[in-house]
Subunit: 248 residues, 6 copies
């Protein structure tokens, strides 16, 4: 048991999280979320239009979708922009689908018929955990956007049905780690991203082991550490939004 985290954190300790609300003057909602050195701008845009597949179905609901991208120099090597090849990277596609599904799971789409909500998550600096930071930041931005829409009478009921928190867990040298930084992610045998609501129920589990498999026993430990992390994140979010709830 010689592995140490480079930032001295305990194995089940979150990095410092900071939400800067209303980061962009024009967006309906926007947050700069910082998790350690990871920085993501999450913005919410509301448009009066629906995707083709919903128009065809003529259901009386709106839609919520997410896009994820990284600035060229958010990483240690410069990333070629997707527009050069005209394709979205497979990884970005996978991540933005995760963000969209997660937020739709806690949003009542029937509360904003005829409208599409775009969640844009743009990574300014990447140091691990950009997809979970995106979900956590986007949730606050979405909450703020709905608050404004409610104040302006653009919606009748507040569409958020639950709080949501997302975190990564992993296994490095047989240790179960919470909230992996980039240097940890690079050497992790297992990498898992978990999204849960504030009732402790699961919304997404994405566990991947390219380097090594993991046993059922390890899975249970990973889920337990994730539970702790998500619970702390949701407390933080509630504290931020309501101001009177103490984090543990």
């Amino acid at each position: 048991m010689n592995f140490k985290r480079s930032d001295k954190r305990k194995f089940d300790e979150l990095r410092k999280i900071k939400f800067t609300r209303d980061y962009l003057q024009d967006a309906e909602g926007s947050v700069l979320v910082e998790v350690g050195k990871t920085k993501v701008i999450c913005s919410v845009s509301v448009e009066y239009r629906l995707p083709q597949f919903l128009r065809a179905e003529k259901k009386n609901q709106g839609w919520l979708t997410a896009e994820y991208d990284m600035l060229p120099r958010s990483a240690n090597k410069r990333i070629v922009r997707d527009r050069i090849h005209g394709k979205i990277k497979g990884r970005s596609s996978e991540i933005q689908r995760l963000i969209g599904r997660s937020l739709r799971a806690v949003t009542d789409l029937t509360e904003f018929p005829e409208r599409t909500i775009y969640i844009d998550c743009d990574v300014i600096q990447a140091d691990g955990g950009t997809r979970t930071a995106s979900i956590n930041g986007a949730f606050i931005a979405l909450y703020d956007a709905f608050t404004k829409m409610k104040e302006k009478g653009q919606i009748n009921e507040f569409p958020i049905t639950n709080f949501i928190g997302a975190i990564s867990v992993g296994i490095v040298e047989d240790e179960i780690l919470l909230d992996l930084a980039f240097d940890e992610d690079l050497i992790a045998d297992i990498d898992m991203n978990i999204v849960k609501d504030d009732k402790g129920n699961y919304i997404e589990i994405q566990g991947t082991s390219e380097r090594n498999t993991f046993s059922d026993k390890q899975l249970q430990k990973l889920l337990k550490v994730a539970k702790k992390g998500i619970s702390e994140i949701i407390d933080l979010q509630k504290n931020l939004l309501f101001g009177d709830i103490k984090t543990k």
Copy 2:
């Protein structure tokens, strides 16, 4: 408890699986895998080239990557071909990344340096479970390809390190279902795809709940049913390849 499966299966019962080996005359390995009405052609191609990122790293290893697509009329509505828009659908991208990661997890890439193995999974008919059928079919095709390569002296050691099995589980009307068909997938609250090796360890867990969340208790049940299904699939595969192992 009124829900019945349209094909009369028990909740924890697999659909009939059929592997037609050497389905294509030219591929290094190829399988037509049929799971109920789902049909996927899995083919293996070996080329003497490496992706850019590996050439840069100059590691002494090969690469294995997967591509997934659906024929236009494999589904109940005609699907527009990706080449029309010049983009890979987000769902296809997500699935082919899953297939590639899963097979790399049981393959020793250092056994075929300088070479890239392409796994092509093309869905001829889709009735649910195409991604897990792809993994199961591709595994057999890959096994066959390596066998031929070994016979021809193109590799020294057999690169497969473990057997692999993949299955979907889900929750429909509070019932835990194994191996969802399309009509079940459509109404499922939860949809989970699990990939494990023959030692019972996890390779991938992908659980998604756009419609409803799931509790830890439900998760444990899902994992248990998946375990049973994967175990049966791996038995089937071993029986197919070695001919003398009995399935339960």
Copy 3:
């Protein structure tokens, strides 16, 4: 006169043709056509929409169009998918235009106004003659689709005006060959594809000689052998559809 066909066929002999009707459960019509080792899935899809140029003309008719593609490992070398470059290969474009024109030539488009019929021809295994196999298979699939549409009252009159048959002929070592397999196509001086109706009239002639030119006398011989082959194919099709016509 030392040239022998590798499959022992006579120079003016067709390969075995097999049509598996209703190959796909969801398509309005579908056929797996096998010609020797060549295998093509032909499916028919009907949609309530018209291409832009027809909407502009406001004619009271429908449209029929074809798409052709090859699975990556249908050939002896793996073919890169068109979606990677976002372009349709020139050869595919040429072939699908030929299939579309040929079928439109025997279809009364005014019988299904407001609708577009998509013919998808996907080559599973290529051993020469994929374009003519596509036309022959697509004709049966289209016939079946119209039969169903008539039964359901979606059309008033049966839109097929003539039977259609397609075949390739070529010159190899001065021999006139019918129905070239891939190994013959590779060494052929001349390659010609001919489409005719059941009255013996021409619908398409596509003759190409990249390696060698051909005289008028050779052309007449090519046309004569093609006539024989197409006549046999149309007999086969009628036998398949009506069951009481004997092939020669």
Copy 4:
């Protein structure tokens, strides 16, 4: 027999053809070819590079390829540029493949190893017959380019093996027409493009009948009229290049 050609030509009469050689100052060879109102710029460019498939085969030969396009306002309606959608129109693809094959059929590619010759055919004004005008114009431009290359010692032997001529024939109101103008093409039942060499042998036959089929007897008449037209074109070309051969 009431049909009259709008420009008073006899049914088997060519339109006036004009070749302006060295039309572009920089190209290795270039021709502005005018056939009636149809105008096409054909240019020849020689580059020291080979396409991927030839480099792989390591044959000791060069390559010749053609590209075809129409200026946006060469037609009566403005044509959207291919670059907008990033795709080559199916029709352009078909035509440029025809031009390339036809010219390769009379060119000895082994005379210019390591080099690719690009033939660019750009339609300035389209009034029917642009593909055959392109072949005829490109032949002269190619002849001129090879002449210059020979003079400069860039090739040892002159690579042209035969003269080539191309023309369209068609059937309008039961009349066999030579060299169809746009207004004739629009109402033609049959449209056929024929390419032959100066020995009277065929290089390409492309006959299409979307509106009506054609009998063997009509085919023979079409071929006969085409023969007359191509013969006149090749006489014109020889006269232009050698100056001492009289056209009929």
Copy 5:
């Protein structure tokens, strides 16, 4: 002061300009403009449609936009067509935006509501100054198109508000040059394109110095020489259109 222009022109002398009006039979207006060896086809097309951004604003006006491209062999090296990569070159994009802005500056868009005017500038041969030649040629083509539209009653008032002239100036070996040819452009320290109206007011100034900077004094000289050139061009245009105005 040893620099001499290769075509013996004085430093402040224009090349010979030739406008061939109605160059294309189908376009609403069209001009082949020749400036020395530079040749550009400018055509005007009118369509009953508006770009998305104008439809959204619901203003009662039309739109005018320009597209610029070069034929592959208009330059001394063959240029790869934009459709190959599916992207418009940055330089072309910059130039067509300049052409569009310049012509909109002298056109009253409210005179042709609901319509978009496309200006297509295609360079047949490039010998410097293609962007200014395009503006000058497009102006005449546009003038002719509006004249025809007025005659046909398609517009009430003539939408041209001012004459427009465009020219390049530059500094080569400390000499201020008017109307740079390609060989001069290649060695110029400074390259400036200026567009003015017939009242002497500026519409566009685009000055670029990749090789060397320029002082305010040099700028004033450049502007003065440009003024002379543009004045001569506008005189030419007026003479061409009205026939009774003398050029200096």
Copy 6:
């Protein structure tokens, strides 16, 4: 003379400029530049590779190029990402070419042979003047990157040859304005971007008047106000980098 600036500035007064250096941990140089509410991240990346055209010329020099983009919600309406259409917007293309040319004009490319320097300018929030803010910010980032490269011995001589400053000027209601904010840009008759070095010489002049033309007298006033602004910016930059020069 009733026009007032919404932020109370004098007509020839700059907005507050703030440079946050080393904004990104991984980039060779990086600056967050803020001009009023406009925010742009400028990063510098150095790669050992050269563009195709330079490799062909085999000159002994490096290259410097710029890319410009806006985050989707940097503006008051959400901007669709370029990757969706696979094309770079014309405006972005124009701006990034301007940034690249301007910085190359003050950089000695022969000091870093074999290397390409990428300048990425990503607009986080747009309130007018993003292209000039990009140039000013990128200059500082580039300066910092070269300083580090010099310290590490990666270059011998410092490649910056001059300081550079960029600013916009315009005419609103006949007033000459310095440094236009978005609300001013929207109503400006004239919009001009000027780039100069610290000796007062011009590098770029880009003046555009879609709405109204401008006289020579107005041009002179615009140039004068720009001179004042650029001088102040360069003082700021020198102060920032050397710390001992006072801004006025």
